[in-house]
């Protein structure tokens, strides 16, 4: 019998029993805190085997081998290899199990946080787990148990490694706090949905809480997955001084039995439990029957912390897309990720439920950019993403990087598209947008588009993609060119909704192309489409009329019960908040003054006015820069402090934005006093200083290519060359990362990059900066602007 079958035949029992704790058993037997329990596999295998044997006797069907922390991060410096520790751990468990129990390779968290919280990359985590998994499979493990996870992305790395390297069944459990979230904010629905999509064989909860606190969490989990549910809780809470857990075996088993009505199938114990707990569990469960939860499939997507069920119209924000947007294209070329993040933040603020992400430009490496943008977006917004590309490689790279359940935009009825895109959708458990077009183009009639939708659905189902994950886009045609087609699109939406029971998507804004009063056409069409069954309008949420139309639709269709949301959005009390300082407060009639005082809105407004009568460069060189210089001088004299310096820079930035837009409209050459590459060095994640420097430099008119934090040496070299940067700025905050600064400088010199290097950071001294080969030491953000001034002189960069 193969391993998968062995596991699935176990599931034919009413309940599958897991074992109890290993770590706390060993600690009771004298293992010091902080020591690695996994080393006992080699040094005291009999002790390990004895504990396993007790669990078999107590009735466990699956033993977790003592391999929880046997990863190379934790074993570093122990003198033992992952392979040896894992093999010995699995061996001990197998010997104790005989033919009475299966043995799981136990995989816990690596012990180092993944990006963006920490500095371990997803691929790095994948690699660490792969090594454990290869060793476990070679040693003969029957099952893989990924447990005690708090980061959904780390869990994904382990699960992907398990699925890609072995055929073994995989149980995944995470650790939740009472509020239903993990330390990193992952929610129960997001966890269940994401891991089921990625191919886990059972999901659940372990550690942290006692079983008495689990009913609401288990109940919620059952609503979000069809998989068997695992519960392996602690024996309550430990006493801080004695470390004794407060729930005894009888009560433990009682609380566990109380979870049966919520649908648990696989049960065991975590910290503080002993063979007695499992024995009692077996006795108490013996007369009970498994109660399979009534699962109702629903279309939903998620990020780690936010699940968005498509139970009403959900707005997909369309703004992260370079098509027809000069500034966006420029931002992509400059790798100005902050620009993209700001687009995301403003759309979320305006009411986007999901964000479409398209970063395709012929000049860039799209898969790489997709990963970079997806990671950066997930660091600042909780909104689920729709990955939008015509390049399957970019889609796969994005899906791999995305923590949660994404939407893939898109597949169409052509064979090539179906056979390349749907396997990715299946593998990563995403939802997918099916476009109703094929080789013959977009069919004219609703019936023909419906037929393609049907074909896409059938193909998806045949590949094991659940129906609720298929979304259909019946395609909006421009009303000015094909007026008669508008009604066909609406009809097709209705047919797909009614006859196939699928959720529908439409890009709305296209409808009005080439017409006057586009806004009117757009929101009118949106309302019509919603009434015909549109679920996921792709729109610009920053245009108020569009989000208004969605809000009104929800109100009128009795979806927004009691008009609660509507009233909150439009009652007088909730009048739109004015962000920042109001434009022209009466006191500042002069742009220089507005910049000096940090009045953002005034600065923008006054720049708009000045552009009517003055040349852009005159404004920059004659007003903005001198104003910043005045502020800088006051800062140096200690008359004005860092927050004010930054506020002035912000005001100048608002002015620069206006000028940039003006120039891109009038096709003037961009204002740039030169290009500077900035990075916080490899290994360091303290970047607030670098970010302040960036704001100031940008507002002195420099183009800043910000590589972020924890930046590889090569990435700095590449960027400096690619952008022909004459100045590179490096920051490091820790004594331990200064060596990365030195390494980066060394590589820049070795590759003979024609640039000056300035360095800064709290632990640096001018002397040390010189020793490691920097050209300049900047003691603060203001000084970095002075250095830039010296490096670039008055010379203007070629545009």
């Amino acid at each position: 019998m193969d391993k998968k079958q062995a596991f699935f035949s176990l599931l034919n029992k009413e309940f599958v029993l897991l074992d109890g704790a290993m770590g706390t058993m060993l600690q009771k037997a004298g293992l010091p805190m902080g020591a690695l329990p996994e080393l006992y596999n080699l040094t005291q295998p009999e002790k390990i085997k004895d504990i396993h044997r007790q669990y078999v006797e107590a009735g466990a069907d699956i033993l977790y081998a003592n391999t929880f922390g046997a990863n190379r991060h934790k074993l570093q410096g122990s003198g033992y290899t992952v392979e040896a520790v894992v093999a010995a751990g699995v061996k001990a468990a197998k010997e104790a199990a005989g033919d009475k129990a299966l043995v799981a390779l136990d995989i816990g968290p690596i012990g180092e946080l993944l990006e963006p919280a920490g500095s371990l990359s997803f691929d790095g985590a994948y690699d660490i787990f792969s090594q454990m998994i290869a060793a476990g499979a070679a040693a003969g493990a029957d099952v893989i148990a990924i447990e005690t996870m708090t980061d959904l992305n780390e869990t994904r790395a382990a699960l992907l490694a398990a699925k890609e390297q072995t055929e073994l069944p995989v149980l995944c459990t995470m650790t939740f706090e009472q509020n239903g979230r993990t330390f990193t904010g992952c929610s129960v629905p997001s966890m269940a949905m994401t891991l089921e999509g990625l191919g886990a064989d059972a999901v659940g909860i372990n550690c942290s809480l006692g079983p008495d606190q689990l009913p609401p969490l288990v109940e919620e989990m059952a609503r979000w997955t069809r998989l068997p549910l695992v519960v392996k809780p602690n024996a309550g809470l430990p006493d801080p001084s004695s470390q004794e857990y407060d729930i005894l075996p009888d009560d433990f088993a009682g609380y566990m039995a109380a979870l049966v009505p919520y649908g648990i199938k696989i049960a065991g114990g975590c910290c503080g439990t002993t063979p007695d707990y499992i024995r009692r569990l077996k006795e108490v469960f013996a007369p009970l029957s498994y109660q399979k939860p009534a699962f109702v499939p629903q279309t939903a997507v998620c990020s780690p912390s936010v699940a968005v069920p498509v139970d009403r119209a959900r707005i997909i924000g369309e703004r992260i897309n370079p098509t027809g947007k000069k500034l966006f294209k420029q931002a992509l070329l400059n790798e100005d990720i902050d620009y993209i993040l700001n687009q995301a933040i403003s759309q979320v603020g305006a009411g986007a439920d999901i964000l479409d992400v398209n970063v395709g430009l012929p000049e860039i490496d799209e898969p790489r950019m997709m990963v970079k943008v997806v990671k950066a977006l997930q660091g600042v917004v909780d909104t689920p993403l729709q990955l939008d590309s015509s390049d399957p490689k970019a889609l796969e790279a994005g899906l791999r990087a995305y923590s949660g359940k994404a939407i893939v935009n898109s597949v169409n009825g052509e064979e090539e598209s179906l056979s390349r895109i749907l396997p990715l959708v299946k593998k990563y458990g995403a939802a997918v947008v099916g476009l109703t077009l094929d080789k013959g183009g977009i069919p004219k009639t609703a019936e023909a588009r419906f037929a393609i939708a049907q074909r896409i659905l059938e193909r998806a189902l045949s590949m094991g993609i659940p129906k609720e994950n298929v979304l259909i886009d019946c395609l909006t045609l421009t009303a000015s060119a094909e007026q008669a087609a508008v009604a066909e699109t609406l009809k097709a939406v209705r047919m797909v909704k009614e006859k196939l029971g699928l959720k529908t998507v439409l890009g709305v804004s296209n409808i009005s192309f080439g017409l006057p009063n586009r806004e009117l056409v757009n929101h009118s069409f949106l309302t019509l489409a919603l009434a015909n069954g549109l679920d996921l309008p792709i729109i610009n949420p920053n245009i108020k009329a569009m989000t208004d139309a969605v809000n009104a639709y929800h109100l009128l269709m009795n979806i927004d019960k009691g008009a609660e949301h509507f009233i909150a959005a439009y009652s007088e009390a909730a009048a739109p908040a004015v962000s920042g300082t109001p434009a022209v407060q009466g006191e500042s009639k002069d742009l220089g003054y507005a910049v000096e005082k940090g009045l953002k809105a005034d600065a923008a407004q006054l720049t708009r006015e000045s552009l009517q009568k003055q040349d852009a460069m005159e404004i920059v060189n004659g007003i903005l820069i001198p104003a910043l210089d005045t502020v800088g001088a006051q800062f140096e004299k200690g008359k004005l402090f860092l927050p004010q310096l930054i506020q002035s820079a912000n005001a100048a930035q608002a002015a620069f934005e206006v000028i940039k837009e003006h120039l891109s409209r009038t096709n003037g050459s961009p204002v740039s006093r030169g290009t500077i590459v900035l990075a916080t060095v490899k290994g360091d994640i303290h970047d607030i200083g670098k970010n302040i420097v960036k704001v100031l430099l940008e507002n002195y008119g420099y183009t800043v290519v910000d590589l972020g934090r924890d930046v590889e040496y090569e990435a700095v070299v590449d960027a400096a060359l690619r952008h022909k940067a004459k100045l590179v700025g490096l920051s490091a905050l820790m004594t331990t990362t200064l060596k990365s600064m030195e390494g980066t400088i060394k590589l820049l010199r070795e590759k003979q990059v024609p640039c000056k290097i300035m360095v800064g950071g709290a632990v640096l001294t001018p002397e040390y900066a010189k020793t490691i080969g920097a050209d300049y030491y900047a003691k603060d953000a203001k000084e970095s602007c002075d250095i830039a001034g010296r490096v670039f002189g008055e010379e203007k960069e070629e545009s």
């Binding site: 010091p32 805190m33 902080g34 660091g379 600042v380 930054i646 970010n691 990362t737």
Partner: protein
């Protein structure tokens, strides 16, 4: 006992912002007020501690039976006369990192103020945790006990490389989600590890001072004749 942070010390925040004794402008004052309220909402204070006996070995001070070995002269000096030490770790948790980072995309001034509010908050959390440790130990002891100030890895010549073992002894990654990176940085970023020496005899009344600080040569506070904490 869960610790609830309240009312951050604004004077401290202004000092972190670089104002020294100077009066901040009205905009910065208002920003600090708003940011500290939001920060307290977002922060999830978590902390752990454990008391271990100390063993003086040739290479350094061994913490109980654990793998944690404290090396260097500074820690020897700090723990002189102490038979036990409390290991403390504390964090404001990930939402604070996101708050500081997210604010920086819109407005670096706001981000900077959040950062300084977070510094004040983590200090407050450590102060309260330290208070709890003292009270607990004193309540459980028949004889008087004396405590040193909090000493963190990175002070003096106590290397940052001990962070991983330090956190492992407290089981901090699992219990409060606090880890060390390969470069010994502690994410979530507003986190602290510290040792408090415990003695039966009065310990030399040392204060946390600039002498042990690795930043003493470059510190902007010191240049102004000020200090950070």
């Amino acid at each position: 006992m869960p610790i609830v942070l309240q009312d951050l010390n604004k004077q401290e925040i202004f000092r972190y912002l670089g104002y020294g004794g100077a009066e901040p402008d009205a905009v910065t004052k208002k920003l600090t007020e708003d940011c500290s309220i939001r920060l307290l909402k977002e922060a999830v204070p978590r902390y752990l501690y454990a008391v271990h006996p100390l063993r003086w070995e040739e290479e350094g001070i061994r913490v109980g039976e654990t793998p944690l070995l404290l090396t260097g002269n500074s820690i020897k000096e700090h723990l002189a006369g102490c038979s036990r030490a409390a290991l403390l770790c504390a964090t404001l948790s990930q939402p604070v990192d996101r708050l500081i980072h997210g604010a920086g995309l819109r407005d670096m001034a706001e981000s900077l103020v959040y950062d300084c509010c977070a510094c004040a908050a983590i200090e407050q959390l450590c102060d309260q945790a330290e208070e709890e440790i003292r009270e607990k130990l004193l309540a459980g002891s028949k004889t008087p006990l004396y405590f040193t100030f909090r000493f963190s890895p990175g002070y003096g010549d106590l290397p940052l490389t001990v962070q991983k073992d330090f956190l492992a002894v407290l089981d901090a990654p699992r219990k409060i989600g606090l880890c060390a990176t390969g470069n010994h940085i502690l994410p979530p970023r507003k986190s602290v590890t510290a040792l408090i020496g415990i003695s039966d005899k009065p310990v030399e009344a040392k204060r946390r001072g600039c002498g042990a600080c690795p930043m003493q040569k470059t510190c902007a506070f010191r240049k102004r004749g000020d200090h950070c904490g």
